[in-house]
Symmetry: C2
Subunit: 148 residues, 2 copies
Amino acid sequence: MNVEEIIKTSKEIPLEPRTLIHMQLVHNKINETMGNALKPFEVSLQQFNVLRILRGQKGQPANLSTLNERMVTKMSNTTRLVDKLLIKGFVDRAVCPSNRRKVEIVITESGLKALEQMDASLEKAHEEIYQNFSKEDLKKLNELLDKF
Amino acid sequence: MNVEEIIKTSKEIPLEPRTLIHMQLVHNKINETMGNALKPFEVSLQQFNVLRILRGQKGQPANLSTLNERMVTKMSNTTRLVDKLLIKGFVDRAVCPSNRRKVEIVITESGLKALEQMDASLEKAHEEIYQNFSKEDLKKLNELLDKF
DNA sequence: CACATACATTTGTATATACAAATATTGTTT
DNA sequence: AAACAATATTTGTATATACAAATGTATGTG
């Protein structure tokens, strides 16, 4: 990826702003690749993330605040996000009997099956995204990202 | 930044998906910091980006497709983005006399002045964002990002 | 037990963005 | 010149997201 080429500029950009632009460009690219991988299933990255969290619960229901807490990108509106998964039949929602303020959200069988297919599709996306990376590169990148 | 802590998970995540999550988390953080730096001026990051491009034109007008080409995050709707800068008085817009399909957009004096202040604010944001980074770290990070 | 407070979610509303279709202008072909 | 295609922008519309207010439920205090 060549930053200057992508944003069609000839002049040299100082390292600090250049890194931010670079991060943004990479983010755009990753988002597009992942979005495309999920397109066949008609779920957004956020929805996919919620499904993954629910699978991690191993049958235990999660409520909205737990979901929000564990989401990679925190949302102000997890209710409507779950609504969409409900419509697709990927999750079930019920009022928590012990505390009726809460809702219990679980992933359905259909959701688990769809998620498996998504995983396969995402695996391919990974290959595409990381084609130029060695294991060492990835480790080093993670170390550097930790500094943020 | 500790990925596992932020998304409140105890289990180990494989390096490939972990890096993507890491990138997303860093992106969120950068966005928030930059957004806050720009908040006093009531411009979005995208709008700021357009102002910067226009300043780079050194008085020469830019049309919408040029702007879109040079934007870090390509938008489907640059018209409405420019609308908002117009309302704030940061840019002027006129029909191109030589080709009336095009519009000529230039940054105003007021826009340039505001942009200077934004630069100062962004400079502080950089300090905040990069506090744990050495020059070497930044160079290495840019090298790794190039692999995407 | 009435009251205030805290909690968890939902709803309303404004703004942002994506995508496609519409409009206007220019260039090209016959 | 009329017809058609290409270009540049604008508009309509659907969807996404952010933020604040509203709703319903639970808990603690006098």
